[in-house]
Symmetry: C2
Subunit: 212 residues, 2 copies
DNA sequence: GTCTATACATCGATAGAC
DNA sequence: GTCTATCGATGTATAGAC
């Protein structure tokens, strides 16, 4: 997954997507949805075709294989997550503190993960079910996306805000882990993704213990 | 999965397990291992048979179906996790503080999860891949096991140690989530499960921020 | 109890009509 | 571009010998 393949194909210049592009998009949307619901291994091409309102055989005009579909779904999911986090940080004033930028990143990450975005939640759900070769590739992609967290936390530490007994690379993984696992239990209703994000940030920075 | 099927067959009274019981145990161990490695949907009965040094057909003498195998693996996993957490708490002095009991529970949970126990890590890995009916059942089991955490945290709050802006049911799920997700990234080596547990407890209670 | 052989269903992928 | 029909591979479960 190099830089070139990540760029969006200037949609503003293309008022009229071809019929094929529309169908391809419907197939991807359907795939993300079904992957999320049933997991990768249990998803049949016929499930995807049905929801995309096409036929199993037709899918092969748009994709080389079942694996090519899941690869594209994961690529889009990573792109969306990274954009969401970057945008959340970028929307802050230029002089925002590291603390506030990390909080913004937490909100950005949790909002896309819990918003019901099919691609992102499918990614988290199916990641450890995909073929080994694919997982190897996307592990690298994930590690690169993790770089933003690494930099933020190191900056926070460099400013002297981090306890000496905290291992930054462990708590980084714990932080991302508790956010990702939230798709397993979160149901829209009582609390919003922003409120969950507040709880995550509170616990992460201050802990649950009352200061007295 | 009714109550009767959950009872243990008084192993202490039975010095000599039958041949069938030994084989059944080998099949379960093999299943837990392969489930953990390949996930539920990608695990073939032939994979299990091979590792258990038997034949695919022979499995059906010991289990009704593929589903019955995974159900038993999950039952054992839950049993082990719950026992580990209870034991960790029980090993404390009777007058241990709630804080210390929660820390012990965290150590107990993470130790069984990261120890390489095949049943426990298989449980976490395959839970969202199993048939709906099974998942419904084990969701109830999990909720009951979660009760211990609920009680501990409420006791901690009742003693006045919890910040007012903390939502206990959310942070409980976040805590369990970050511990369970750790199987995705933890590799034996640099840090021990106990050291990870220390980091979890630190973050959970105090946060990463230096007090000054 | 454990084996071999096989029935039966399912699914990814391809071929070819339209 | 999308359809229908079908091949070939794979995997659960069963039958029956030993």
């Amino acid at each position: 997954m190099n830089e070139a393949s990540l760029k969006i194909q200037a949609p503003a210049l293309k008022q009229k997507p071809t019929k094929a592009e529309v169908t391809r998009g419907r197939i991807l949307d359907a795939a993300a949805l079904v992957f999320r619901q049933k997991g990768y291994a249990l998803t049949r091409l016929s499930d995807i075709a049905k929801r995309a309102k096409t036929q199993t055989g037709s899918i092969y005009y748009h994709f080389e294989s079942r694996e090519a579909i899941v690869a594209e779904v994961l690529r889009i999911a990573n792109e969306r997550t990274q954009n969401h986090v970057s945008d959340a940080i970028a929307s802050l004033p230029a002089d925002a503190s590291v603390h506030d930028r990390i909080v913004a990143a937490i909100h950005g990450h949790l909002k896309i993960v819990l918003s019901g975005d099919q691609y992102t939640s499918a990614h988290i759900r199916i990641f450890d079910q995909i073929p080994d070769k694919l997982r190897q590739h996307f592990l690298k992609v994930l590690d690169e996306s993790g770089q933003i967290w690494r930099l933020l936390l190191e900056e926070f530490k460099a400013e002297g805000h981090v306890r000496d007994d905290i291992d930054l690379s462990v708590v980084r993984l714990l932080l991302i882990g508790m956010m990702n696992w939230s798709v397993e239990w979160y149901r829209a209703g009582r609390l919003t993704p922003d409120q969950i994000a507040d709880q995550v940030a509170l616990m992460f920075f201050e802990g649950i213990t009352r200061k007295s």
